[in-house]
């Protein structure tokens, strides 16, 4: 159990539920180490009756895990439910050859942050890296191979998939170092990756997708053509979702999009309409190519993303 300075020590009975608070971005923002963040996220998600290897689907039972929204109900242990009136999932040890590739958008727009305060801010990039690190951690724990791609307008880093114990350290190190100063070019990057990836993989794409929809569509289509499973997480800041500004405001655009001095309250309705329209188009595009699409708010808990990943992983193995 991790105890932060100033925090009260929790009794043992509360420890299990206490881990779930590490799914909250505001808590995670106070932790500088990405690998520690990832561990805590996974701990929070996998809180069970006893410590166990973090498993998915296998023939050999490994442990029980508490049910969370999005879990496949086929794995519910109905006997336990009958005895305890609580829903737990069965998890099994399994051998797998899954390749997980996390593609993280490191463009300038991902640096936008309104969650947290001072130095303990939580940007969209923080959210994306936390998810990527957590998923990688879980995958490596299950002997899956994990790779990483970081891009802005170019593919900055590409780490080939591997399931060696040191892989996770490499990944978290890369995610920490990458600067975010440039424009994005998602479609081209996806094209490049589609050419690079020779093994059928589960691709997790973490971005705000503030890019040309046509280009994104082209890239995704290329990945799907290569038989990769794709999960797209659109990560947005609460300010971007609500646009609650008032008073004369100078908006300085990231990614070289200029400046705009305006009365935001007058533009709010039109802005929200544009954003919703873009998201709807993106969602429709993904649905058309059987790409899982999830829009994430950096102020919300991360378990949704992780649960979705586990469900998708299970489906891909099956």
């Amino acid at each position: 159990m991790i105890v932060f300075p100033g925090e009260r020590r929790l009794p043992m009975t509360e420890i299990a539920t206490d881990y779930r608070r590490y799914l909250d971005p505001r808590t995670l923002a106070r932790i500088n180490s990405l690998d520690l963040r990832a561990r805590l996220i996974v701990e929070g998600l996998m809180t069970g009756m006893h410590r166990s290897p973090y498993q998915g689907i296998s023939v050999e039972f490994a442990q029980h895990r508490q049910y969370v929204q999005g879990d496949d109900i086929r794995h519910v242990d109905w006997k336990v439910f009958g005895k305890t009136d609580k829903i737990y999932l069965k998890q099994y040890l399994e051998e797998t050859n899954l390749h997980l590739i996390c593609i993280v958008d490191a463009s300038e727009s991902m640096a936008f942050s309104s969650v947290g305060s001072g130095k303990q801010t939580w940007s969209k990039y923080d959210h994306a890296t936390a998810i990527a690190a957590s998923l990688s951690y879980m995958a490596i724990q299950q002997q899956d191979s994990v790779g990483l791609a970081i891009f802005d307008n170019d593919l900055k880093h590409f780490i080939k998939p591997s399931n060696t114990p040191g892989q996770w350290k490499i990944l978290t190190h890369e995610l920490t170092l990458v600067p975010r100063l440039k424009k994005t070019n998602t479609g081209r990057i996806l094209d490049q990756l589609a050419e690079k990836l020779t093994h059928r993989s589960l691709i997790v794409l973490l971005s705000d997708f503030f890019d040309d929809l046509g280009s994104i569509k082209k890239g995704l289509r290329h990945l799907r053509f290569k038989k990769h499973e794709v999960m797209a997480f659109q990560i947005l800041d609460p300010l971007e979702i609500e646009f609650p500004f008032e008073g004369t405001t100078l908006f300085k655009g990231l990614e070289e999009l200029g400046e705009l001095l305006t009365e935001p309250q007058a533009l709010r309705a039109a802005y929200l309409h544009e954003l919703q329209s873009f998201t709807a188009d993106l969602r429709k595009l993904c649905r058309g190519m059987r790409v899982d699409f999830t829009r994430m708010n950096t102020a919300d808990s991360l378990d949704v993303a992780l649960s979705g990943f586990l469900a998708t992983r299970a489906a891909s193995i099956k």
């Binding site: 908006f251 300085k252 655009g253 309705a269 873009f278």
Partner: protein, 736 residues
């Protein structure tokens, strides 16, 4: 309208614009990732946003501009409706006495006269009102009551300026008229809950206890029910005195060039004043040095005499030497139309062949006695110029060329002729009717009686007597009718001994305004104690501007022996002089009256009128029965005016009303009594503390202003919400 508020409103219009510009300079900076959506939203909504911002800016500017205008209370927005919303609307009516007596000079700082002090007081009262809240109306009293501000206005600065514009009048005080106007204003402004009436007068007897006392008694309680009435006595503490010439009157009705004219001047003194002297002058030429006079309110008239050498309008002037606090009434002017020739038309019903046989022959001789004269010399010295015609010629004559028309034993008067006679009399002519054996009583009753050209219905047949005859009821020792004043105390005038054998009896109603100049002695055989009025022998009555004289017997010797007596000439001269209207009746006016030129005055062109300073006075004309009638603007200042008719210059006398000279004042208790014991607050010539005037106070102006501001701000907020401000209802939280 208050220009200050308008200017302030227009200046305030700039504030939203300045704020808008400042807001563009003061902004917060946000680093923004989703810039593409923002730019796209702006591109699609730029026109709408600009339009909404413009509407909002214009609305804010209008809010301030309208607020300034509302406070300025422009024309068309001055009713009390908005004020009523404040709950404390008020109305103040200020009656300022500007009559001549208010010109009384006193030793006060910044106020030389009572009127100056009254204006100062009025402005002080206005200053105590709530700006933009209470309405003010101002009424003056002279020469007639006039509302300077009739519709109560909220612009107090305009009210102050109106007070400044009030001029000293030289007319009388129409206090009852002013109060009536105040009553009418209160009735029109019945929704105003708080009403005050301020009377600013010098409390003179003539104003408060004169002709209008009955009206004041009636109006006082009515006003006290509606208004909180306050009186400011401008003469309080002043020991006022004044001397004046109240009237100049000729002894005789008709002044002519043949006889010495006597005049009487009523010079009076009111209050304790020094001795004075009266100086006469004719046409600006002094006549005689004035004798010292000790004047009081009961002083006997001073007399003067003058023999006019020429006829026409001439100015008699009487002036009191010395100075007093009201100098304008020390001089009085009187225009006398001196008769040098009086044209009369004698209409005979019976023409004679021999001298004195015609029915009007004696009249002609009596009015213009002949004298022995050589060729080319006048046959008579009389100023009367009779023209003898038959009744058949009457219809061809222009009656307005004559001062009098005498019908002597005219049998019948045709309807058209009766109409002409009626018009002639109404315009100021004199009609003298003499009876005779030819007179048809039925015709007279039918044509003349309805036109009021008879003193009453003639009752036929004519009354006849035997040889003894009837006698006029004339007593030399008694008090005769003014027309017969010349016969007073004359034992052997012959009037009482002249016999009348026949006469027409007329029934004069008891309530009739007809004057009996001379009656017949009661007939013998009348029962003692019988209260029957004697039959009238001579009557006179007025019909509009003219007079009708009825002589019940003949003008010649047919029915009476009077024409052969010496008294006949004098009687006829006196009857004519007494009943003829002098031509100067329209030439003597009081200050404030307008000059109206009678139709009988011949004009060679548009008349012009100059005042005593030589300044022209506006004359207007209007058509009345097809004849252009000229009327001047009210003649405000006393003095001698000059009317130019194109062929002649006629003097016009304008005098201060006589009753304004009496500057003696009534005490405060009498003021209350004069107003019917109404509840009024009495003050002196100074403004008391505001609290005593404006009990209960009022702050409604601020409430109205606050109401207006809140209303307009609510409108602004609504528009700001509608066109831009953040609305919580629009927050859409997307499910992740």
């Amino acid at each position: 309208m208050a220009p200050g508020f308008v200017a302030a409103g227009l200046l305030l219009v700039g504030i939203p614009i300045v704020i808008h510009i400042l807001n563009r300079r003061r902004f917060k900076t946000v680093t923004w990732a989703a810039m593409e959506f923002l730019l796209r939203a702006l591109k699609k909504n730029r026109r709408r946003l600009e339009f909404e911002q413009l509407i909002l800016l214009v609305t804010r500017c209008l809010v301030l501009a309208l607020l300034g205008l509302a406070l300025a209370r422009p024309v068309g927005c001055q009713n009390g409706a908005l004020s009523m919303l404040g709950g404390h609307a008020g109305l103040s009516v200020i009656v300022i006495d500007n009559s001549y007596s208010m010109a009384y000079a006193v030793d006060r700082p910044d106020a030389k006269t009572h009127l100056d002090q009254a204006k100062k007081l009025a402005k002080g009262l206005i200053d105590q009102l709530s700006g933009g809240g209470e309405a003010v109306s101002i009424i003056t009293t002279s020469p007639v009551a006039r509302a300077v501000i009739e519709k109560p206005g909220y612009d107090l600065e305009a009210a102050r300026q109106a007070v400044d514009r009030i001029q000293q009048a030289y007319g009388a005080t129409d206090l009852a008229g002013a109060m009536q106007k105040a009553l009418e204003i209160a009735e029109r402004e019945s929704r105003q809950p708080d009403k005050s009436l301020y009377l600013l007068t010098d409390a003179t007897r003539s104003a408060w206890e004169g002709d209008q006392s009955t009206s004041l008694k009636q109006l006082g309680p009515e006003l006290a029910k509606i208004y909180r009435v306050s009186h400011f006595n401008l003469s309080q503490g002043q020991n006022q005195w004044n001397q004046a010439v109240l009237q100049i009157r000729p002894k005789d009705n008709l002044v002519n060039t043949k006889f010495m004219a006597e005049f009487a001047a009523d010079a009076k003194g009111f209050g304790a004043g020094p001795d004075s002297a009266l100086e006469w002058s004719i046409n600006d030429r002094p006549l005689q040095a004035g004798q010292p006079l000790k004047l009081d309110s009961d002083s006997a008239p001073s007399t003067g005499s003058y023999a006019f050498k020429s006829g026409g309008p001439q100015v008699v002037q009487a002036t009191l030497a010395g100075k007093d606090p009201l100098p304008a009434d020390n001089t009085r002017y009187r225009v006398i139309d001196v008769a040098s020739e009086l044209k009369v038309l004698i209409v005979e019903g019976k023409r004679g062949i021999t001298p004195l046989e015609g029915s009007g022959a004696f009249l002609q001789v009596a009015l213009a006695p002949t004298k022995d004269s050589g060729p080319g010399q006048a046959k008579s010295d009389s100023y009367v110029q009779p023209e003898l015609i038959s009744d058949l010629e009457l219809g061809n004559k222009v009656l307005t060329n004559y001062s009098a028309v005498l019908l002597a034993n005219v049998a019948q008067v045709p309807s058209t002729t009766a109409g002409q006679l009626e018009a002639f009399v109404k315009q100021g002519g004199t009609l003298m009717l003499f009876m005779g054996d030819l007179v048809n009583g039925d015709n007279y009753n039918k044509e003349l009686l309805p036109r009021k050209l008879l003193p009453g219905p003639m009752v036929g047949p004519p009354v006849h007597s035997d040889e003894k005859g009837f006698f006029f009821d004339f007593k030399p020792k008694g008090v005769p009718h003014p027309y017969l004043g010349v016969f007073a105390n004359q034992e052997n005038s012959g009037l009482d001994t002249a016999q009348v054998f026949d006469y027409w009896r007329v029934e004069v109603p008891a309530s009739s305004p007809v004057e009996r100049v001379l009656n017949y002695q009661p007939a013998e055989g009348s029962k003692p104690g019988e209260k029957r009025l004697p039959d009238p022998a001579i009557t006179v009555h007025s019909l509009e501007l003219g007079r009708v004289l009825f002589f019940s017997t003949s003008a010649n010797a047919d029915w009476t022996t009077l024409p052969v007596r010496m008294a006949y000439v004098t009687l006829m001269q006196e009857l004519l002089a007494g009943s003829v209207r002098p031509g100067d009746y329209w030439m003597n006016l009081s200050a404030g009256q307008s000059l109206e030129i009678p139709a009988s005055i011949r004009l060679a062109g548009a008349p012009t009128l100059m005042d005593s300073a030589g300044q022209p006075v506006l004359m207007t004309s209007e058509s009345r029965n097809g004849v252009a009638m000229y009327r001047s603007a009210p003649l405000e200042r006393p003095g001698e005016y000059k009317l130019k008719t194109g062929t002649a210059e006629i003097p016009i006398a304008v005098n201060v009303p006589a009753n304004e000279a009496d500057v003696r004042t009534v005490p405060d208790e009498a003021l209350k009594k004069a107003l019917g014991d109404a509840d009024i607050a009495l003050h002196g010539a100074e403004l008391p503390l505001q609290a005593s005037l404006n009990q209960g106070g009022n702050d409604f102006g601020w409430k109205v202003m606050a109401f207006a501001v809140l209303t307009l701000l609510a409108l602004e907020c609504f528009m700001a919400m509608r066109f831009g401000h953040f609305r919580r209802s629009q927050v859409v939280r997307e499910t992740v």
